[in-house]
Symmetry: C2
Subunit: 145 residues, 2 copies
């Protein structure tokens, strides 16, 4: 891991059951994302958000100031994982860190993004990771001429 | 790469500008996903879908028969990339391939998922990849006792 170039912390977003079900109806219609009773009987023992919903909320938090890149946040790809599911009541916040700037063309930055849950006030005690993303993103630069 | 265990092909989904803008308003409010004129002046030279929208549509296609796993499609993580953006009019279809079944606990399958664009009837000629995902997913098995 290279020396961090810059770190950013996003605003927070509170996830609730209605958001989880609405996203699931549109993009991930599986019982553990759609229905409380069915979710209780699933391997998750309760309603959980689609991992793609967690990722989409992450993007919203990045775009709204969590990763202030002049030309926008344009990802090329990366490594993604969901160590724990997002549940109703979870408060998501994204911490990102620019790890490397590659002087290729187009300019690419490599970064690390973590989603954190903060349930309640003692969030430091309960802080748990629901998503991890190592990304390559396009970095816009001003033309030199 | 291991010998493919099984391959699946999903239904298709036609992406249009209204879907692209609706997803963007909720999760990725950047000009090249929201506004035709601003998108023309962007590095994409036209409206493009958020990469997370492409991923979410992929999940929908997988859940609706594109990856028929008995216990549902429950991803743990993977490597994701977007070689090209999804544009209005693109027809998405997901081809997936189970690469490996790891006999760990919980049971995990490793698979490769590709999104293909099929513009028009001559889709084989124009077939282009808009998303690639190498995933680890939980595989449900019946208890042996």
């Amino acid at each position: 891991v290279a020396t961090p170039l810059q770190r950013f912390t996003s605003k927070t977003h509170v996830v609730d059951a209605a958001q989880i079900k609405a996203f699931a109806r549109q993009f991930d219609p599986q019982p553990f994302h759609l229905d409380d009773d069915a979710a209780e009987d699933s391997l998750f023992s309760g309603l959980v958000a689609s991992g793609w919903h967690t990722a989409a909320i992450t993007m919203r938090l990045l775009v709204e100031g969590g990763l202030p890149l002049a030309g926008g946040v344009v990802g090329a790809g990366g490594e993604l994982s969901w160590p724990r599911p997002t549940r109703p009541g979870d408060v998501l916040q994204v911490e990102s860190e620019v790890l490397e700037i590659m002087l290729s063309f187009p300019k690419i930055i490599s970064g690390h993004i973590g989603d954190a849950i903060q349930p309640g006030l003692e969030w430091r005690q309960w802080r748990q990771i629901v998503g991890l993303l190592d990304v390559r993103a396009r970095l816009s630069v001003m033309p030199s001429a």
